[in-house]
Amino acid sequence: MSKVLIVAEHLDGKLNPSTARAVSAAVALKPEAVDVLVLSHDADAIAAEAAKITGVSRVLTVVRPENAHPLAATLAPQIAKAAAGYSHVFAPSTTFGKDVLPRVAALLGVAQVSDVMSVEGPHTFKRPIYAGNAIITVEAPASQTVVATIRTASWPASGNGDASASIESLTVDVALPAHTRFVELQQGKSDRPDLQSASKVVSGGRGVGSKENFDVIFKLADKIGAAVGASRAAVDAGYVPSDLQVGQTGKIIAPELYVAIGISGAIQHLTGIKDAGTIVAINRDAEAPIFEVADFGLVGDLFKLIPELEQAIG
């Protein structure tokens, strides 16, 4: 039987919703237990949130001052030690999980399965390669711990009902390196929904034309309660910060509604939105590749169409 350890992602004392998505993937293994590991300098609030997620058996907290910031070099030895007795170690495939988990896998001497889209068996998974243009079925050796990151866009967040898992404090006896130090985190501040978990996303591309023009994207997004995203071209042109980038090298999202405005639809961008429920494309170029994946397409000048859309929405 499988026993899964999930590394919780958190920031400023709050659990990241991607953790509950990793729980869904763990539950798909039909495991004996799903434990969540919270490494922090102050774990109480985070652990309490994790304990409410449906499917979680236990929450284990490792509280150390060194865990105040998510440095892979500091966290990995603790996770590798805590992994003893588990058949699987999962983390969400976010920048946090991608940074720390391969380091854990190497310490355990095992391969890692990146971006798990589906669970086919206890050691068999599907994952995308070539920017999502091929899906492979991979099998990890049954004799080793399976270390895997979970593609958040492929999994729903596990429910948050009446569940209440036990919370236990764990002592991990391992020396931590001092060679890597946190300096600061510059956060793009935003009152809008989080891009990765939003049910609606409005994205702008190079066609928006300038940083100032991007206001029309923000306005439309606010009107329908959507998060704002951007193509790489818009980020490179300096219209918006890079944490809004959607695509192979940015965030991979699966909202119910994705509205691409002034985005041509390069392969690398489409990778990030392929699993969206409904895709809407607004572009002046009727030949733009984005129309090949759009459920609804509208050809025309975005500066004329967006006010018309806002009016029609009412």
Binding site: R103, A106, A111, I129, A131, G132, I136, T180, F182
Partner: protein
């Protein structure tokens, strides 16, 4: 200081790859191959550090079949001082690549290793982190800015929450994000010069690395196709359609 740069050859990022109908792989015969874009950025950063006087030597490392030499010549033409070619018939997985790089580190004693954050073929995003773990040194992944002074490197990292700045002692492993720099173009005279630069060839077997495949790939499939959408004539029709689906 010496900088080691990982320089993988992959199917060019502009190629729309095709899955073989029998599910045994993707079509790579006759397909254009190029440097992994993130590795070009890694090499560019190493060259800039050399131009600033921080590094003296930049060494590109490739793992692959005999004809990988031509690819490594591109790295030399871009400006690397020399190349190391680890000859391996098949593509190696990230853990094996990390073990190979560790062997080369033991021999070369670099002050810094720069790799791309991921290869655009397997999209694994693992090798740099695994190497840092095996080497027991700092890692700075998804780097968009690198500054070196007094045996320390300060790296700005592109994380989901924004930009994170960390400081690490050298030697360290850095993996590059797209925004770190704009790689230079190769000039014709440099291609000529690259022909006389050294390439060390090492057989994988001679390194004593366990190269057994760790993950077994049993099937390749094309992704599910989205059904063909409709074009609407104006904003009102679009809003009506979205309202009907309960999306607005």
């Amino acid at each position: 200081m010496k900088i080691l740069v990982g320089y993988k050859r992959v199917v060019d990022y502009n190629v729309r790859i095709q899955v073989k109908p029998d599910g045994t792989g993707v079509v790579t015969d006759g397909v254009k191959l190029s440097a992994n874009p993130f590795d070009d950025i890694a090499l560019e950063e190493a060259l800039r550090l050399r131009e600033k006087g921080i590094a003296e030597e930049v060494v590109v490392v490739g793992i692959g079949p005999a004809d990988l030499t031509a690819h490594l010549r591109n790295g030399l033409a871009m400006g690397a001082n020399r190349a190391i070619h680890v000859v391996s018939g098949d593509a190696v997985q990230p853990l094996t690549a990390a073990r190979i790089l560790l062997k080369l580190i033991e021999k070369e004693q670099p002050g810094l290793v720069i790799l791309g954050k991921q290869a655009i073929d397997d999209d694994a995003n693992q090798t740099g982190q695994m190497l840092a773990a095996l080497w027991d040194r700092p890692q700075a992944t998804f780097a968009s800015k690198v500054e070196i002074a007094n045996d320390k490197v300060t790296v700005t990292r592109e994380v989901d929450a924004g930009l994170e700045v960390i400081e690490a002692d050298l030697p360290a492993v850095i993996t590059t994000d797209l925004r770190l720099n704009e790689p230079r173009f190769i000039k014709l005279p440099d291609i000529m010069k690259a022909k006389s630069k050294p390439i060390d060839t090492i057989e994988l077997a001679a390194l004593g690395v366990d190269s057994g495949d760790h993950l077994k790939t049993s099937h390749y499939a094309a992704p599910a196709k989205r059904s063909k959408g409709v074009m609407v004539k104006d904003a009102a029709e679009l809003v009506a359609a979205l309202k009907q689906k309960g999306l607005l």
